[in-house]
């Protein structure tokens, strides 16, 4: 890995780190934004099948320029491809997969995560906001494991990992693990359990930027690069 000009992981590195924890054979739904980047970093030798809630299991990467089909898109409405062994289905069937607990892992973005696992990622609750929820509430209610990728703080430096969410919830107690630019953090009995620190980042540095209770996790390690997956 090349040296970073700023402390902590880049967006790409966060995605790369999250990708390490996706096991072979997993059925995975990736949210819009940084989570979309995860697919390209899954280590070689692991076969992972991507679900997009608009009706495709076996989503592949974006098409070659000029070869896309405007009727083959992902949940973010970007053109994608279908892999060998894919299946198309309608929306109700797609959410049977989600609500029924058949998707192993969902990787989502976040506005706030509380130390009890509450997630807020759909609305700031501002009076003039146009509320838009999409499939986020279904995903967090139904998918077996929820991983979040997010910057550790907002653009103005406010913590996104908080004691309790001030934004409207997407779901209560749903987050299992958080990948930020500074650390890999599990949601556990004592709140935020730091399992891994980005290169050069200290526990204290993370704690100063965290709104909830932060404790060293069982496997706390300083990352000397992108380490092997720990799940």
């Amino acid at each position: 890995m090349t040296a970073n000009t700023t402390l902590g992981w880049t967006r790409e590195q966060m995605a790369q780190r999250a990708a390490l924890d996706i096991p072979n054979g997993a059925y995975v739904n990736l949210g819009i934004g940084i989570p979309e980047l995860v697919a390209k970093y899954v280590p070689e030798g692991r076969e992972v099948i991507y679900h997009t809630e608009n009706g495709l299991l076996g989503m592949g990467p974006a098409p070659e320029p000029g070869l896309g089909d405007p009727e083959l898109i992902n949940a973010g409405k970007k053109q994608v491809t279908a892999v060998q062994g894919a299946a198309f289905f309608h929306h109700a069937d797609s959410f049977v997969m989600i609500r029924g607990g058949h998707i192993d892992l969902c990787v989502l973005g976040a506005m706030q995560v509380a130390q009890n696992g509450d997630l807020a990622n759909w609305s700031t609750g501002a009076p003039d906001a146009i509320p838009a929820v999409g499939g986020a509430m279904d995903l967090v209610a139904g998918v077996k494991t929820i991983h979040v990728i997010t910057q550790h703080t907002t653009k103005t430096g406010a913590p996104k990992l908080v004691e309790s969410c001030t934004y409207p919830l997407t779901g209560p107690g749903v987050v299992d693990r958080i990948y930020t630019d500074l650390a890999v953090i599990n949601v556990g009995p004592e709140g935020f359990h730091v399992e891994e620190l980005a290169p050069g980042v200290t526990f204290d540095y993370v704690e100063e930027r965290t709104g909830g209770n932060l404790v060293p996790g069982d496997k706390l390690a300083q990352s000397g690069g992108i380490p092997a997956g720990t799940d």
């Binding site: 608009n54 089909d69 409405k77 929306h91 838009a132 279904d138």
Partner: protein, 236 residues
């Protein structure tokens, strides 16, 4: 002989009255029956309740219907759109109401409506603002909210191939909400790229069986919404 074909999109939507509830297929542009929507704009029906996952893009298709102020209420999961200010402006001006429904709950409510199921329980939205004042009930130690089936007077959907009976197959992720909407509407109106002879659709692979379909109109080369939006097109 059973033949559900009609001659034109205008004829297909001619009887939709003011105040009707209309389900419109499509997720973004994929599966959006843009010619049927434009015919509905031409036809003039207003005060509509529209069910769609989104609120359209640019100023064509569903966004154009909304901009023409024909939509009194939207029932959808994601009314924000990258390429349109149409819905947000009317919503903020109080001219269009919004019932926000989680995407999977929306799909399941439509399916339930078509399946004769008046209500069901789902874990989605429990403990969130969208739980609202819905009934919450515990099963096996977990809380669920009660949601109601959703039906419509009309469904406007788009498919890839159809036969005169109304058997349909779709193209890739353009399938999305259309098969469940077809089950939940009193009158289901389909625009198809192609009409084939009965028997050409393999019975094992029919997605929407014929009994859900009432009118079929052929639109061999439908407009592509993203191309229209990129070109700054408007309708009418």
């Amino acid at each position: 002989m059973i033949d559900k074909r009609v001659e034109s999109v205008a004829e297909a939507v001619a009887d939709i009255p003011d105040g009707a509830t209309v389900m419109i297929g499509g997720f973004g542009e994929a599966g959006s029956p843009i010619e049927l929507i434009h015919a509905l704009i031409d036809q003039g029906a207003t005060g509509l309740t529209v069910v769609n996952n989104n609120t359209g893009s640019g100023e064509v298709g569903l966004a154009a219907l909304i901009k023409a102020e024909r939509v009194a209420k939207m029932i959808c999961s994601f009314p924000r759109t990258a390429n349109s200010t149409v819905f947000p402006e009317l919503y903020r001006a109080g001219k269009t109401a919004l019932e926000l429904v989680p995407q999977g709950t929306l799909a399941e409510r439509i399916r339930a409506g078509g399946a004769g199921i008046p209500a069901f329980y789902t874990p989605t939205s429990v403990g969130t603002p969208l739980q609202g004042d819905k009934e919450v009930r515990s099963f096996g130690g977990r809380d669920y909210v009660m949601e109601h089936g959703l039906v419509a007077d009309y469904a406007l959907i788009k498919c890839e191939r159809a036969d005169r009976y109304g058997n349909l197959v779709y193209n890739k992720t353009a399938r999305n909400f259309s098969p469940v909407m077809a089950t939940a509407a009193t009158t289901t109106i389909v625009q198809t790229k192609q009409i084939v002879e009965p028997g050409e659709l393999e019975p094992e692979t029919v997605v929407t069986p014929s009994l859900y379909v009432h009118r079929i109109v052929t639109v061999p080369q439908p407009l592509v919404e993203s191309e229209l939006v990129a070109a700054g097109a408007t309708y009418p």
